[in-house]
């Protein structure tokens, strides 16, 4: 089966100037990322702020241009941003992001906004448009009497449903969701997560789910990629990553999720903060905070390689099965 979406060695560098007279220094927001999403599969991307996960999401859709590397959708390369081909392809891949109020037009009713992609991509004859909008609203759990409402008349959860309905209007094959439930309350978050799972099962949509909330990602994603400073440091199936994280950063991340009944003392608390991407540490970018860093970590950057269980990890201390046991013993 060919992958729905493939990215190969994506690089995005921003030039950041410090002060007015400062020399511009490069910030490698996305630094050589390769990934693949199969049809109907959900790939979760986790990482802290500044890890480049949102930039990556935009690059996957061609909204941010890759300075190196390539994105292929259904086997063919992504056309250049702004061209007619790109627009046609974008109907097949949609973006949902964190703040629904910013994503919606305050002066249009939600029915009008959900119907907009149908007009733009000329997908449905005008006389059937209202039916299709009603169908979409039902699919995301909005009541038909809410069609004439304006965004400010809806709750946060309902707005996010409207944004998702609009994204689904063009029957996309791929949905990139950037923190789609982070702004919602717990009880509403569960409603939207369930809805996304149902929609995906029903329509076989491939999904890239970007979030800093590990519990939500674990629930929704089949596979998870963990990012640190623009690179993937570990990738495996959701069950494998959360049951037995191997990269020290993933271990710390999983351990930092507060679990009631589990005392703070047993948790692995990292020292320091994520480094400034403009001031990337030498060698492995994680080594200044890493509890098992060795000399080699300061000088050489570890490559992402297979370590069994369908897992890849980029860490000198995690070479293979035997080495990882030793590492675990040392970290315990």
């Amino acid at each position: 089966m060919t992958a729905l979406l493939e990215a190969e060695e994506l690089v995005r560098i921003y030039e950041v100037r410090r002060g007015i007279f400062g020399r511009p220094s490069p910030v490698r927001a996305v630094d050589g990322i390769s990934l693949a999403v199969m049809p109907g599969e959900t790939l979760g991307i986790v990482g802290e702020s500044g890890s480049g996960k949102s930039t990556l999401g935009r690059m996957l859709l061609g909204l941010d241009l890759a300075q190196a590397g390539e994105v292929r959708f259904a086997g063919s390369p992504m056309p250049r941003n702004g061209t007619a081909e790109w627009r046609a392809m974008r109907a097949k891949m949609q973006l949902v992001y964190q703040d629904p109020l910013a994503a919606l037009d305050r002066r249009l009713t939600i029915a009008a906004q959900i119907g907009e992609p149908l007009q733009i991509h000329r997908l449905v004859p005008r006389q059937y448009q209202a039916d299709r909008v009603a169908e979409l609203m039902e699919a995301v759990g909005l009541r038909s009497d809410q069609a004439g409402r304006f965004p400010h008349e809806l709750s946060g959860g309902q707005r996010q449903r409207a944004v998702i309905a609009r994204a689904l209007a063009s029957r996309p094959k791929l949905l990139v969701c950037d923190e789609p439930v982070s702004a919602l309350d717990v009880s509403i978050q569960a409603q939207v997560v369930n809805m996304l799972r149902d929609l995906q099962e029903r329509n076989g949509i491939g999904m890239v789910f970007i979030s800093h909330d590990l519990k939500v990602v674990r629930n929704i994603a089949d596979r998870v990629a963990v990012m640190y400073l623009g690179r993937i440091v570990e990738e495996a199936s959701s069950d494998v990553v959360f049951r037995s994280p191997q990269h020290p950063y993933t271990k710390a991340l999983v351990s930092s999720v507060p679990v009631p009944g589990k005392p703070l003392e047993g948790r692995m608390i990292l020292q320091g903060e994520p480094p400034n991407p403009a001031d990337r540490p030498s060698g492995c970018a994680f080594h200044p905070r890493c509890p098992v860093a060795q000399d080699i970590c300061r000088t050489s950057s570890p490559a992402l390689r297979r370590i069994g269980d369908g897992r890849t990890a980029a860490c000198h201390a995690v070479a293979g099965e035997t080495a990882s046991i030793e590492t675990m013993r040392r970290m315990a």
Binding site: V186, S187, Q191, N194, N219, L253, P258, V259, L264, I269
Partner: protein, 338 residues
């Protein structure tokens, strides 16, 4: 006066209304000396408003009634000068977004020294020495060199540490932390929770931790109040609430949170949405979303009553108490509520 009363803060029938819309419907709450109390609930449930009202920090249009006693002294309707003695001195408060609480154009050292001058009358070298001690205490590395930096030169996690240092400047008896870790990354959140625990052990101050994150609350608090639509619906020890939630809303909150282990089942959401405070449903505000509700729930609001096990509960149809403790242990063990 204060010595006879073991409770540091005592709120009785605290009510708040904005422009005639009541958002807080009579809160009864006590905080004992040195205790860590958690306040959980979803946005709009009144968990922040309770403490803003208690400290007189709400805008003028808010109508606050009821009794707010700190060490037996009435604060509701008190003079500004009386309030100011309590604010920062006896009770300090930190907020979700530290960078908007710090003054961007003042060096951080000066901001902490200012708090020390106001609350403890320290000046000059003494104030500087004390400020450096506080910075060290909250874990700002290399404090002497960073004393003269501006807030934007610190990361979000460090700004929250600065806020905590400033809150500690008045040697408060109570620190009210309003969603202090919500804006922070996961690994930094763990650091701040760790810091709050360490500071409490060191200074013996009481802590009120306001959060929507039940996991975080369970790690720093001993007692928890669950709020819904401007009322406390359940209160108990962390162990009680997390092993056996009795109010259907508390139970629903736990069920709605995805787990970090175990099977990746569908989540169990609470149907519907939080009611608009302008149009609260009759009777129990949670009844329209409650799976256990009966007709009576829609007519009268159940009062918050003490239960046999020491918890307080406002519900006519609570979740049945689990008889075997095995179930409860299993839930804790598996981190079901995480």
């Amino acid at each position: 006066m204060g010595t006879t009363n073991p409770d540091l803060v005592e709120l009785r029938d605290l009510k708040v209304a904005f422009d005639g819309v009541q958002v807080l419907h009579g809160i009864d709450l006590t905080v004992a000396r040195g205790e860590a109390l958690g306040l959980v609930g979803e946005s709009g449930c009144g968990k922040s408003v309770t403490w803003l009202a208690a400290l007189g920090l709400l805008p003028g249009k808010a109508a606050v009634t009821g009794s707010i006693r700190v060490d037996g002294r009435q604060l509701c309707g008190a003079e500004r000068s009386d309030l100011e003695e309590v604010r920062g001195g006896r009770i300090a408060m930190i907020f979700q977004d530290p960078s908007s609480s710090l003054n961007p154009v003042l060096r951080i050292g000066r901001q902490i020294v200012e708090a020390l001058q106001i609350h403890r009358g320290l000046r000059g070298q003494a104030a500087r020495t004390e400020a450096l001690r506080l910075l060290d205490m909250v874990g700002i590395p290399d404090a002497p060199r960073r004393f003269d930096l501006y807030p934007h030169e610190f990361s979000g996690g460090q700004c929250q540490r600065l806020m905590i240092a400033m809150a500690l400047a008045g040697e408060p008896d109570l620190l009210v932390a309003d969603e202090p870790t919500t804006a922070l990354d996961a690994t930094i959140q763990a650091q701040i929770l760790d810091l709050l625990n360490a500071l409490r052990a060191e200074t013996g101050m009481a802590l009120v931790f306001i959060s929507h994150d039940l996991g975080a609350v369970s790690q720093v608090c001993e007692r928890v109040c669950v709020m819904y639509a401007g009322r406390i619906v359940e209160e108990g020890s962390v162990a009680q609430l997390f092993s056996q939630p009795r109010h259907p809303y508390t139970r629903g909150l736990f069920d709605a949170i995805p787990r970090i282990d175990g099977p990746r089942d569908r989540l169990i959401p609470i149907p519907g949405t939080v009611p608009n405070p302008k149009h609260l449903p009759a009777g129990c505000s949670f009844s329209p979303r409650c799976p256990y509700a009966v007709d009576a729930c829609g007519s009268t609001y159940p009062s918050l009553e003490f239960q046999g096990d020491g918890r307080r509960l406002a519900c006519m149809r609570p979740v049945p108490a689990v008889t075997t403790s095995g179930e409860a242990k299993r839930r804790i063990h598996e981190g079901l509520m995480a």
